[in-house]
């Protein structure tokens, strides 16, 4: 009874030993002046910055603005990538027409067109949303396309022989078969989503987490800069947890998500 409990406690201690030790050393280093606060403020200073920005509302406001941009971009880019992936996946002519273009565009680093985007949209919301949409489009497109193309042809043949109509074939065989791959695409897309948004907000914005950290840099508030970085990490982790949850919910039949 106590042995598994002990083992779990030991595992927990082992996993967190290194981060905890680093925090302690960091805090100690900052207090003794070994680490200059201007370059790397103490963890306690970051905690204070967190509390200050939380109470004056700027933290929640900026986080909300960033999340909103991220989600709108994801919806537009992801939706487009999904539709293109489905169309090219099930139709050879569409693939021939569109896929090579998609592959060319995919290989352009989307952050490289930031100057162009600023010329087009200025530093308005559209610029950030456009960049996020572009960043998430390709991972979703590629994985949807790949997922549909790798659906077991034996199942498709079976469904045809058993008289499933094209719509039923899509909803009952092709889409569920492609779903694991599509969800992997979504996970990649979420990573690209935050990455793109950080860069876009850092370069041109007057609100959002990226703006908050850039603004803090101007005033040498290194603690707020670090807070912003931690916030991005936390949001990225949250997105990952959400997709894992979605995968477990959407793929209960999958060998990887069997509980028994």
């Amino acid at each position: 009874m106590s042995a598994p409990l002990f083992r779990r406690a030991r595992d927990f201690a082992l996993q967190w030993a290194l981060p905890a030790a680093i925090l302690v050393l960091w805090e100690a280093g900052a207090h003794t002046g070994l680490i200059p606060a201007r370059l790397l403020p103490a963890p306690s200073a970051i905690a204070v910055a967190f509390w200050t920005t939380l109470t004056d509302g700027s933290l929640l406001y900026n986080t909300w603005i960033s999340t909103e941009r991220a989600l709108i971009g994801l919806l537009i880019g992801g939706g487009l990538g999904f539709v293109l992936g489905v169309v090219n996946g099930i139709s050879r002519p569409a693939e021939q027409l569109l896929d090579s273009t998609m592959q060319m565009l995919r290989n352009v680093p989307h952050l490289a067109i930031i100057p162009l985007v600023i010329l087009w949209f200025g530093i308005q919301e559209e610029a950030k949303i456009f960049l996020v949409a572009l960043g998430v489009l390709f991972p979703i497109y590629l994985n949807t396309f790949h997922g549909i193309r790798t659906v077991d042809p034996g199942l498709v043949e079976m469904a045809r022989l058993y008289g499933l109509k094209p719509m039923a074939l899509f909803w009952r065989v092709i889409l569920p078969g492609a779903l694991p791959s599509i969800l992997i695409g979504l996970r990649y897309a979420l990573g690209f989503m935050w990455l793109t948004l950080i860069v876009a907000e850092t370069i041109s914005a007057n609100s959002g987490i990226g703006y908050m950290t850039m603004n803090a840099r101007e005033f040498l508030q290194t603690d707020v800069v670090l807070l912003g970085i931690i916030l991005y990490a936390a949001l990225g982790k949250l997105a990952d947890v959400l997709t894992r949850w979605l995968e477990r919910r959407a793929l209960p039949w999958h060998p990887a998500y069997q509980t028994a």
Partner: protein, 272 residues
């Protein structure tokens, strides 16, 4: 000594007969093929097949790999068009649901529960409640009613094939084709499945066409064994052993010998 043996054998047969449902009036479709030919890109696979399978008959087709037996099955099912000759399937088989096929792999949708997989066999016919009822009845026929709510993943290979059989049966087909359905199963499960297939065939009276590599299996199940060699029917052998057939029956061994000789020695070559 002899009498005791005979008595014991009789009781075993009685027990087996009790398991085997009585033969129902055939509701199957008769299949007639006339000088059927099929070539793929200039290569002749079938070179003139004349064959009549009466309604309700259980016909087995055997032959070496590449002899054209699977092609023949696809033509009978209407999945491919013949290059020449004709196919007639009589008895209201215009509906797709009247012809069903069971593959070597179960081909169950992994993301659909067992009962939903069986419902696929109904195509788009029926109301939601009626479909569920029929699917459950079909699952009951293959002895898996208690697994209706499970994912296919958790079933054994034999159980998956039983679900595939239920899916093929649920629309009450008039013609049921088996494309080596038991090839991937272990020996004991295969015998169980053979009994099950024989049982539902007798109960439902469809016409059955079984393609197999396994000569013993063909003789155990079929009314008639057709050996295909080099695109032609090399042997058409009626199997008149009364059902239920016992494993190890000397008559089965004798027929097996005849077929084997046809497959190998008398043709004078081993590989096609």
């Amino acid at each position: 000594m002899f009498a005791a043996n005979a008595l014991r054998r009789a009781t075993i047969d009685d027990a087996a007969a009790a398991l085997l449902p009585p033969r129902t009036e055939s509701t199957g479709a008769a299949v007639t093929l006339g000088s059927l030919q099929k070539s793929f890109g200039g290569k002749e696979v079938l070179r003139g097949i004349d064959l009549h399978i009466p309604a309700g008959q259980f016909a087995a087709i055997i032959g070496k790999s590449g002899c054209g037996k699977s092609t023949l099955l696809r033509l009978i099912l209407g999945l491919d068009a013949p290059s020449a000759g004709e196919i007639a399937v009589e008895g209201g088989t215009t509906a797709a649901a009247a012809r069903r096929i069971m593959f070597q792999e179960p081909r169950l949708l992994p993301w659909a529960r067992v009962v939903d997989n069986v419902e696929i066999g109904l195509g788009s016919e029926g109301t939601r409640l009626g479909r569920r009822e029929r699917a459950m009845a079909a699952l009951d026929e293959v002895g898996l009613a208690d697994r209706a709510g499970e994912w296919p993943l958790v079933l054994s290979g034999g159980q998956k094939q039983r679900v595939a059989l239920a899916r093929a049966l649920v629309s009450r087909p008039k013609l049921l084709a088996f494309d080596e359905p038991l090839g991937a199963l272990d020996a004991l499960t295969r015998i169980e499945m053979q009994r099950l297939i024989e049982g539902v065939w007798r109960a439902q009276g469809f016409t059955a066409v079984l393609v197999t590599h396994d000569v013993t299996e063909a003789i155990a199940l079929a009314d008639r064994v057709l050996v295909i060699d080099a695109g032609r029917i090399a042997l058409d052998l009626p199997v008149r052993i009364p059902r239920p057939r016992r494993r190890g029956d000397p008559e089965i061994a004798r027929l097996e010998g005849t077929i084997m000789r046809h497959l190998f020695n008398e043709q004078g070559h081993l590989a096609a």
